[in-house]
Amino acid sequence: MAALSVFDKALEPVYHQEREVKYGLVDWLTTVDHKKIGVLYGVAGLFYLLVGGLEALLFRIQIAKPDQNIFVGDTFNGLVTMHATTMVFMAVMPLIAAFSNYFVPLMIGARDVAFPRMNAFSWWTFCFGSILLNSSLIFAEFPAAGWTGYAPLTTKAMSPSAGIDFWWAGLTMLAISSMVAGVNFVVTILNMRAPGMTLMRVPVLVWMMMVIQFLLAFSFPPVAVGLILLSFDRTFGTVFYEYTMGGDPHLWQHLFWVFGHPEVYVLILPSMGIVSEILPVFARRPLFGQHAVIFSGIFIGFVGFGVWGHHMFTAGMGPIADAVFASTTAIIAIPTGVKIFNWLGTLWGAKMTYPTPMIFALSFIPLFTIGGLSGIMHANAPLDLQQHDSYFVVAHFHYVLVGGALMGLFAGFYFYMPKVTGKLMNEALGKVHFWLFAIGLNLTFWPMHDLGNRGMPRRIYTYPADAGWNFDNLLATSGVFLMAAGTLVFVYNILTSLKNGKAAGRDPWDACTLEWLADSPPKAHNFDFTPIVFSERPLWDHKHTADMAIPVPAAAEEIHMPSYSWKPMWVSGGIVLILVGLLLLHTIPFSWLISVAGGLSIIGSLYAWVTEPV
């Protein structure tokens, strides 16, 4: 048994660092610190969350009532396409990256990720890719073929607008960013753990992060190939998706969904991890069946690669393929159920407290379960034939992604922000945010089940007044306003708590894991000394168990800190040049020279990268 104050007495380590940054802006442009990169991802993710939300608000206004003419045709389709593309790739994924960047090294007791400059490269590639994708609005118009981009709908003949070109170019950069980050974090978690932290002592959130990094590294290549083939069709005249030349519409669907289904788990597993960290802290007891929760997450990761065909039951794959994919999809309900019952087991009979992160984490369980249950319905191929492309499906994945993924991330924000800013967030505003958002999301997405059952298809921009869909649509749109209001309260809460929040201290929630050992906010080197881990709850045992106090060494450690670097941004910039050259190929003569310049600048930057002292 030992108090946390023993950590205050630890000596500052002795630094070895090549160069130091002088100016604030240069620091943010060249940083290789996982915490700063995490903050960058977080700011970008919140920004795009507002953008994607605004897009949803606009097209929901169009279909709030029948026979409206505010956003019609491809304007509506563009808003729908960009809403989904933004929310999946530019809001939820960077928010997850924010948590994995900031907290994975802290939770495993490391000073940084395995490859700090590669991490910065992932960030800049994401940043430039998301700008490139959204710049379609300035230079052309929004892509309007749906976030799933089904070829041949996206071929030049069907979608002549350059919006699709910005879409494939931007998504290609986001894919590169994710694959590189995946490799980086797999190595970080496997190799950089503090002494004593065996794999079974790794926190559940870190485990879920490791599973999704494998999913990122292995599921993005197929969709990258799909996007490359699309770009060749549109730019160099290949015929992969040309049905007049024998091209098969199944090809894109396979390549997209081999990625698309694991991507669902990329979006949801981190929130499951966050909930698994938060529930034990406020229920004052260990997570029930921690190993079962970890292994079910790993199982979900593996089986997630074998279920993609459930998106294609209506595409005519044949009865055998349909039966196989229906079975594998139903099997995934088992590990998911294991997690849900373990959370319930954790809460059973516990004396809980209810601060904002706990409320969000508690709401995750029923909201995600609603989405999970409608998901099992879709595993049933004959039933899916009825529900396919209806609002029932929209209701399903929004319960999973908003009620599940986003509520989990909100819980994470309230739980972890004190560590990032050193200030507690406002509890009253947090609860206002919760109730506005929770009521709003149910008001929006619950009626969509009914709309789907009444036959309303997805992605239609208007409907007749006598279709019987008026009331449900009005409810759905009014719910969006509540969610928007809740999100604004949330952003306001973050901004004001930066200034006025109460000081959080090292360990505001009396928690269990290593990130709470660091200062709030943590120093650049995270920990003054390398913590040694004796159990899966090192900080809890430090506080409560005799003989398990984390030893504070008497001597100062010597550490090497990586220096700032411009090279990651240069390499990302080279990729932008290559893509811009391809985008302009048929517009400006000799624009292929831009691509060549991009390739050469990548080679030069990489040479500078490997030779610069860090």
Binding site: V187, A224, G226, F232, M245
Partner: protein, 221 residues
């Protein structure tokens, strides 16, 4: 304290700490290294797993469309197994010289390693040269990117493989140059050459798969 690893091999210390230290890796404390593989090697294995999915998708697409071309020329009209066998043999030999480079570096013999890297890069460049000749010959026979599903799938699949060989040639040349100029931390040279070798062998294996299933099977039929 167990964080102070008693490292037997200097390059392992540098890699266990997980950063590129240049010439300045004189620190006492390093993070523990649980998996028994240096960071950079583990990263290369993970990356190659990712690459398997990439080439799996490309080769899968080729076979998804195999025999579905609506217009000629068809594979049997253009493939010339003799020439491709020669280029395949050269690429296989480059894997041998790559292995010799890795071995020379393990024996702390940078000059020999540099020479084998240059030979490997030259063999790889020759392979790419054969591919350029093959492509122009096929175009001459009337097979273009836009001719048919065969043209599209064949050129893009083998083209991306050739692109990977080209990246490898640039990588190995850069590595040889850096060794020649002595710009890399000598302690880290063996692992750097070994990781480049992993990539090179992988690209070679992908070609064996393509050569066997795309060229040879066509030839047997």
């Amino acid at each position: 304290m167990s964080a102070q690893l008693a490292a037997t091999d200097p390059h392992e210390v540098a890699d266990a700490a997980g950063h590129d230290h240049g010439d300045h890796g004189h620190h006492a404390v390093v993070e523990n290294n649980f998996m028994g593989l240096p960071n950079i090697k583990l990263a290369m294995w993970a990356f190659l797993g990712s690459e398997c999915m990439f080439f799996g998708s490309l080769i899968g697409t080729y076979f998804f469309y195999h025999g579905k071309a609506l217009a000629g020329p068809l594979p049997q009209d253009v493939f010339s197994i003799g020439i491709t066998s020669i280029s395949t043999f050269l690429l296989l030999m480059s894997s041998l010289t790559m292995a010799l480079a890795v071995d020379a570096m393990k024996q702390r013999n940078p000059a020999t390693a540099r020479n084998f890297l240059v030979i490997t890069a030259l063999l790889g460049a020759t392979f790419v040269g054969f591919q350029v000749y093959e492509f122009s010959h096929f175009v001459h026979l009337g097979l273009k990117l836009s001719t048919s599903l065969f043209g599209s799938t064949f050129y893009v699949m083998t083209g991306f493989h050739g692109g990977h060989v080209t990246v490898g040639v640039i990588w190995l040349s850069m590595l040889a140059l850096l060794i020649h100029k002595g710009k890399l931390n000598p302690a880290k040279l063996p692992i750097n050459v070994e990781v480049a070798g992993l990539y090179w062998h992988f690209v070679d294996i992908v070609w064996i798969v393509i050569f066997t299933f795309v060229y040879l099977l066509e030839f047997i039929q």
